[in-house]
Amino acid sequence: MSEITEATLDEPLAPRQDKLRRAFFRFRQSRLSMLGAGLVAVVVFFTIFGTVLAPYPEHVAGGVATSTRFEPPSSAHPFGTNELGQDVLSLVMAGTTVSVLAGFGVVLIGSVIGTLFGAVAGFVGGWTDEVLMRFTDLTLTIPSLILAMAIAAALGPGFTNMVIAISLSWWPGYARLVRGEVLAAREEVYVTAARAIGANPGRILFRHILPNIVSPIIVKMSLDMGFAILTVAGLGFIGIGVRPPTPEWGTLLSLSRSYMPDYWWTAMAPGMAMFLAVFGFNLLGDGLRDILDPKARR
């Protein structure tokens, strides 16, 4: 016995931090993933500091300067000014906060509801599964923007109501993803092992199944961030999102619509901001999927 013990202790163990370092190494191999991570970093930076760093904070607060209406891009106003003489750059920078936070809120609430539905459906199975998933399918049949519009119209405008409205049309995707993953994870040998030990269903779901399906959820969340930002902007664009003067990309774009194409710069800045944010989150999501999703890895 003692000889076995010694022999085994000699065996080398892989260094602890290895997995993370390896993942980062693989992530860095892809230029696009790094570009995505860079863009997301910039977006997150402006989400936090956009309002503070805006060169004309009084415009962000709703102040107007009618003397400087529709000035083309210049050194004083890199993206020009709008119909109220406000600095477009300041508005877009400050608008990042609302757009990204709303997008993040939508994805977070959507994924929590979806995970709950999907996990219960996949784990319990049988009639519960049928009922929950048919309800999910039902929600999916209604176009999400129209559902969000209806909910937003019922709740009234405002940031919180908008986030809730979009979230309620957002969760079915997560429910279906999580259900599939739970069904697969339920058959893993370590889950059978836990059942053989006598672990109760709650323990099996929360200790053995859910921790092992976090990766695909995170990947979907980062891929969804872009679309969520777009949907938020879409609601802003049609006027049931955040009301001016609170700057928000969709609202900014919507207001500048009437002044195209003569005063193109009023639409250019919020449009580009949206494009870069969505692009960045998609690239990051793709990169994360490559390193986190075990199916792509093996």
Partner: protein, 271 residues
């Protein structure tokens, strides 16, 4: 021999036909009238090829599967008649080690969490404090040839042989009497297999365990087990002392299996 710890009486399992879009699948008779008993303290080997019903039998013993007919008795108690609470207490006494050490450990749990999990689950009967659980985990690890320094590590840091030792430590954590070993060494290299087999022998001598050893590898079964049953297409075709079966097999199937088993010996008909 002493009294039986596990008795299987006329066990049958039929998987009902499934209706698919292509029509109905046939009824599958996974187990047909299987009876056997495992005595306290012995190593009982169950040998069969793929599709013979070994897995169904193991799952039935663990009560993860409900048999179609027949009874499974653990120390004389019928599993089917136990209350959920009694069944849970029983799970502490019957444990299993699976074939694939890479799949049977939760990759997101540390070795400490893996080994203490049975103690947490059976807290109501074992009543161990957190400190006692940690001590027992360390003790179990050294019992299987690992050390307390491995407690904070994760499964991916270990080799296949080491993982199988962790699986054995987990199986021992609730203080079982009967250990189901479902091909515990067939995913390992021979050199590592030898170590794990020796560990199993050693543990049985020390802890007085009963083994129900499932395998398709006759040489391993012969090495570890004193009694053997051969299962073929859901039926027990031969049962007896292992020396007797290996030296003088009675059924044609046993003779065929033993003849097919490759041996590290030069045969005269080698090319």
């Amino acid at each position: 021999m002493s009294e039986p710890i596990l008795t299987i009486e006329n066990l049958s399992k039929i998987y009902a036909p499934k209706r698919t879009i292509f029509g109905r699948t046939a009824e599958v008779h996974a187990l047909k009238d299987v009876s056997l008993s495992v005595m306290k303290g012995e190593s009982f080997g169950l040998v069969g090829e793929s599709g013979s019903g070994k897995t169904t039998l193991t799952r039935s013993v663990l009560h993860l599967e409900t048999p179609t007919a027949g009874r499974i008795l653990f120390e004389g108690q019928d599993l089917a008649h136990l209350s959920p609470a009694e069944l849970r207490r029983l799970r502490a006494r019957v444990q299993i080690v699976f074939q694939d050490p890479y799949a049977s450990l939760n990759p997101r749990m540390s070795v400490r969490d893996i080994v203490t999990e049975p103690m947490v689950v059976h807290q109501d009967t074992l009543r161990l404090s957190r400190k006692q659980q940690d001590d027992r985990a360390a003790e179990l690890l050294s019992l299987v040839g690992l050390g307390p320094q491995h407690l904070a590590r994760y499964p991916h840091e270990f080799s296949g042989g080491q993982r199988q030792r962790i699986c054995i430590a987990r199986a021992l954590a609730s203080g079982p009497d009967l250990l189901l070993l479902d091909e515990p060494t067939s995913a390992l290299d021979v050199s590592v297999q030898a170590q794990v087999l020796n560990l199993l022998c050693d543990l049985q001598d020390r802890l007085g365990l009963t083994y129900f050893f499932i395998s398709h590898d006759l040489s391993v079964v012969r090495y570890l087990c004193n009694r053997v049953a051969l299962i073929y297409r859901g039926e027990i075709v031969e049962e007896g002392e292992s020396d007797q079966i290996f030296d003088a097999p009675e059924s044609g199937y046993a003779r065929m299996l033993i003849g097919a088993m490759p041996q590290v010996k030069v045969r005269c008909d080698a090319v």
